[in-house]
Point group: C2
Chain length 334, copies 2
């Protein structure tokens, strides 16, 4: 293993000079700097992170906590975070919290000493608990806004409005929007947006997963809903399957729009119309905000990311009244 001292010797300078070339090059004269760089690449020197951290410098890695890495939405975010990290020369430590507040906190504790900061996706633990655990360590929340903590969130209001407007433009009048679990910041945020709207039915809270979606379908049909905005894509996919199982067709009998735009949505049949979340930007912005903080910026930035409607084929014009009539008739049979 080649150390700082080896490089220093090769370059004919003091180890501290090498160290400075690496951390604050502007302090060092250009000729020396060049010589050091040559020695570094010649010897293939790689700084030892542990030593660097121990000596009080930057660690060069960040911790990322996600509720469930198997959820494609979070997988996309993690991927973006990882890419940003690589671009910034950072290492990413990942912990899956299994959606549990205690795992979140214990994960943070475990990573605590080894990272420069945290990116926390959809945190469920209370903000004050977070502060207690991480102390002054920089931190940014993804998908939750909290005072005193940097965050990058999706425009939940736009999600609701984009989804509902799309349905309305297709002529739908009996529109439902599914509420998410109360524990989520995004749920509360959407509820606020929903409250602004006239004439939409709300359903739930309902778990944002496939099975819950299936279970939802029957109720939607009974309520003669013709267009529904699910809480996320997984749930939307479930609604579509449940609908077909009940003998109805998507989008002829029910238009469904999801939210997130996970890969599975494009692969369903019909492919899912959805409000696309910029997962990549979410991750990238989070890292950017975090790096800012790590570099000493005191400002607490709250970043709001726009969403966009992706129209595929799970939504269509509302059926003419006779069409709905037919549907109802069939519905009585099942």
């Amino acid at each position: 293993m080649v150390t700082l001292a080896d490089v220093a010797q090769a370059a004919g300078v003091h180890p501290s000079t090498v160290s400075r070339v690496l951390s604050r090059p502007q302090l060092i004269g250009v000729p020396t700097r060049t010589a050091v760089h040559e020695a570094i690449s010649l010897l293939g020197y790689v700084p030892n992170k542990a030593a660097r951290q121990l000596a009080g410098g930057r660690v060069g890695s960040i911790g990322v906590l996600v509720p469930d890495i198997a959820n494609p939405f979070f997988a996309k975010i993690v991927r973006a975070v990882q890419q940003s990290c690589r671009a910034d020369g950072l290492t990413m430590l990942l912990a899956d919290t299994d959606q549990r507040a205690d795992e979140e906190l214990s994960g943070a504790r475990a990573l605590g000493g080894s990272v420069d900061g945290f990116v926390v996706c959809s945190p469920v633990a209370a903000t004050k608990d977070w502060r207690a655990v991480v102390g002054v360590t920089p931190i940014v929340f993804v998908n939750r806004r909290a005072t005193g903590v940097a965050s990058v969130v999706l425009d939940q209001r736009a999600i609701v409005e984009l989804g509902v407007d799309h349905l309305r433009e297709l002529g739908h009048r009996r529109i439902a929007v599914v509420r998410g679990p109360d524990a989520y910041w995004s749920s509360k945020e959407r509820d606020r947006a929903i409250a602004r709207l006239d004439g939409v039915l709300t359903i739930g809270p309902v778990r944002p997963d496939f099975d819950a979606g299936i279970a939802l379908a029957a109720g939607l049909i009974n309520a003669e809903i013709t267009g529904v905005l699910a809480f996320n894509d997984l749930q939307a996919l479930g609604i579509m399957v449940g609908c077909r199982a009940a003998g109805r067709s998507v989008p002829d009998d029910l238009s469904v729009v999801g939210s997130d735009d996970i890969a599975g949505g494009a692969m369903s049949d019909p492919p899912l119309t959805t409000v696309s979340a910029p997962a990549h930007e979410l991750g990238a912005s989070a890292v950017q905000l975090l790096v800012h903080q790590i570099n000493g910026s005191p400002e607490v930035t709250e970043s709001l990311l726009p969403v966009a409607l992706t129209v595929r084929r799970s939504t269509g014009p509302v059926a003419r009244r006779t069409g709905r009539q037919n549907s109802n008739t069939r519905g009585d049979l099942s």
Copy 2:
């Protein structure tokens, strides 16, 4: 921050004693040990990883490299790895290699100094390059077998046989199996298994993703295939969609079986029959093997994991000849 020294003082012993209580308890007398433990929990002491590593001890973390974390199959493995890590008190460092050999190697280099070992999923870089980069650092390959490297792999032969046998039992005679990219170890392994079989057509190599699956459908129909074993679930899903787009039905006109058993398979319509891979075991075994090596065991273990058929509704009995006749007729139209 509470340090070893603080604990030592609180317990009235020397720091080295505390250190030993943590790393090799059997060296320390029981009363002292107890006292130290009390002091530790009293003060809420958390060992500093950087210092520990620097001093030459274990780091307590492992590096995991995956080709694509957004691929649900790898997400499942990562999740399992993470769980095993937590159970063993290990931290997991994750890097996404984007399926590129150079990223694999540079990822390993970046993590190099900060981990006790590596779990590498579906490595594409050559084994000797790996050895060159990681030196004597313990390492285990997932989904590739290589001499001199511990590995945990799926029984590729069983995958092929299980899939094909299932199709045969349903009466299919015109069966195709899709080959994967030549670069994959699993592809070569399956090819070997396919070679053993009589009377199956092979197709490909074909990329193991959704779009490639869609593209495949037409060819399958033209060749009058009635049952197909895809290379993985993503591809199988694509075949189903492509098939329906061509006016055929699954499983009536074409039975399709996937491989992996990703979550999306259960959510498709019809839900996908597939050869399930024990993703959780893959991850857990990998960690176990790695920990063994880290603990100094010299043996190079190669673990072969069994797979199982999960029958859902994308496969069915072969259509009666008249049925196929009909299909063909319809086929001419499209």
